[in-house]
């Protein structure tokens, strides 16, 4: 029970209701005419991702001095070398994402959602398969601070430069980023003094300063307040409008349903279902104990 997610009953309930009415309203105007699905922006072919875990690796434990010490240090290919083991977090996921699509990813804790997004963003090597992507990807994870000991200001500049903006472009966008994040004068404090909501707002503002082709959001919206949620949804629509693709991991099925037309359901690293949001979310809910309808 403890490890299963409660897709409902998350904190930001009202804003979601607000938003769905917002969305339908915003849907009408010619700004977002119903587009036919565009060209592929991402092709994911049988991707596997593994973590290496260094377990009880303390100096002085007897296992350290077994004859395999040499092997332990020099043989990096074997599957489990002493207390080094592997977590096979993503086990063969395939799909094609297209322009203008927003794709939700759901699944229990530890299903591999965050890991999959990192691999799709090109930030974590995958061990098998292939990921093909168009243009620039941006991942907004739960660990929002780039360098937590530095101030928000410095993180903004650093993030902008890392995205490939020139110093002049960063300068030009600086105020906009601070404004969008809504953190005010906290921008001159080190980021480890931020609440997690503030940090992810700033990070969101940094990463979308230059609209990416593929935007990936890993539970970063759930920490923001209603105002921020509204702003970030606007950004997501903007990405879709500019022929990009959005991936969204959220614990709230209401968020997923309101934002995504397509949903991938991951379990234990495997893709269980890939289809229209309502269907997949309903099927997923069926498997949650105490949450049947």
């Amino acid at each position: 029970m403890a490890e299963t997610e409660e897709p409902r009953g998350e904190e930001p309930k009202e804003p979601e209701v607000d938003f769905s009415s917002d969305l339908t309203a915003a849907d009408r105007p010619p700004k977002r005419k119903p587009k036919r699905l565009g060209r592929p922006t991402m092709v994911v072919d049988d991707v596997h991702v593994r973590y290496r875990v260094f377990g009880a690796r303390r100096m002085g434990t007897s296992s350290q001095f077994k004859p395999s010490l040499y092997k332990r240090l020099f043989d990096r290919t074997s599957k489990a070398v002493g207390s080094v083991s592997e977590v096979h977090a993503v086990r063969g996921v395939s799909f094609v994402a297209r322009q203008g699509e927003s794709i939700g990813i759901i699944g229990r804790n530890g299903a591999g959602k965050s890991t999959l997004l990192r691999a799709l963003a090109g930030l974590m090597p995958y061990s098998e398969g292939a990921v093909y992507a168009k243009g620039q990807t941006a991942l907004l994870g739960v660990n929002a601070a780039l360098l937590p000991r530095l101030t928000g200001e410095r993180n903004i500049v650093l993030g902008g430069l890392a995205l490939g903006l020139t110093p002049a472009q960063v300068q030009a966008k600086f105020d906009e980023i601070v404004e969008f994040s809504g953190i005010g004068e906290f921008v001159s404090l080190p980021m480890n003094a931020y609440s997690s909501g503030m940090a992810s707002r700033l990070r969101f503002a940094i990463s979308t300063a230059k609209i990416p082709d593929i935007l990936m959001i890993d539970e970063a919206l759930s920490t923001g307040d209603a105002e921020f949620q509204r702003k970030s949804r606007d950004k997501i629509l903007e990405v879709k409008d500019q022929a990009g693709t959005v991936f969204l991991v959220s614990h709230s099925s209401a968020t997923v349903l309101s934002m995504c037309e397509r949903v991938l359901w991951l379990d234990a690293g495997r893709l269980v279902m890939d289809g229209p949001a309502a269907e997949v979310v309903a099927a997923y809910k069926q498997t949650l104990p105490g949450n049947r309808r």
Partner: protein
């Protein structure tokens, strides 16, 4: 469901790039140069952040090498007496400690530059060679106060300022090239097998003892010419003697010393970069 061939064909038809494929060396270098502002900003932020967590702050950048200098002076100059062949021991030791300190902290910091910044590596996409480059640059920035202190000590000890002092600039640049190459090599090794991270400081301690920081290698190995050549021309010792040739009265460096200095910087720097680049797709795995 697509087969592997169909997936690849679909991707190439729509001009998608394959993530995690190692870029070519030339385009990797170009990407690195394009991120030069990022490198510089990261390096200067690192220098600022370094001493922030203490009351004396940046003063430690001077105090730390000065304390080390005093300890070595006490142990080797006074107690053990390794002054022979050093002309003026205090000047000799000042050049040795302060410049060796630069190389050592560059190598040690550089070796952890990937493994200690996993959050950054997993958050943003950029050529990973940015990190060792920035960290060794940070060390170089941090070293400036120490270099100034070294010069003050040299002046107090009566070494005349000559145009040769300018030679310190190329020496520092060559040291940077060599240190960067070491940082590349070690950053890759340590990020893939973290255990080696523990060995790097120990190896640097060993180098401090064999690189003529507080004694004259030639004097102590006078009876073993082969050993003398090896010890004198390994990069750490060589850069110290090049520096002494520039700033310490009574020391001169020959053209072949400079040639070796250039060789070490170019060879280790280039090999390091290529070695690091070859594992580009593997950083960030844990």
């Amino acid at each position: 469901m697509l087969s592997h061939e169909e997936a690849a064909a679909l991707a190439s038809r729509h001009k998608l790039r394959r993530l995690g494929a190692r870029p070519r060396l030339a385009s990797y270098l170009k990407a690195l140069v394009r991120r030069r502002h990022f490198i510089w900003y990261l390096a200067s932020s690192g220098a600022m952040g370094r001493n922030q967590g203490s009351y004396l702050g940046q003063v430690w950048a001077v105090l730390n090498p000065l304390l080390q200098f005093s300890v070595l002076w006490l142990v080797f100059g006074i107690i053990l007496g390794t002054r022979e062949g050093t002309k003026d021991f205090i000047s000799f030791l000042a050049v040795g400690t302060f410049l060796f300190g630069f190389m050592a902290s560059g190598v040690i910091g550089g070796s952890k530059s990937i493994s200690s910044r996993m959050a950054l590596v997993r958050a943003l996409e950029f050529p990973r060679a940015v990190l060792p480059t920035a960290v060794t640059l940070t060390e170089m920035i941090m070293e400036w106060p120490a270099v100034v202190v070294m010069m003050i000590i040299l002046l107090i000890r009566g070494n005349p300022i000559t145009w040769q002092w300018l030679g310190l600039i190329p020496v520092l640049l060559l040291m940077y090239g060599f240190t960067l190459g070491m940082a590349f090599i070690l950053a890759r090794i340590v990020s893939i097998t973290p255990d080696y991270g523990n060995l790097v400081p120990i190896a640097m301690t060993l180098m401090r003892f064999v690189s003529g920081v507080f004694y004259s290698i030639s004097t102590f190995t006078a009876s073993l010419p082969a050993l003398s050549v090896i010890l004198n021309y390994q990069p750490f010792a060589l850069y110290l003697s090049l520096a002494r040739g520039c700033v310490q009265d009574g020391f001169t460096a020959q053209w072949y010393d400079w040639a070796m200095g250039v060789f070490w910087a170019a060879a280790v720097g280039f090999i390091g970069l290529v070695y690091f680049w070859r594992a580009e797709a593997r950083y960030g795995r844990d």
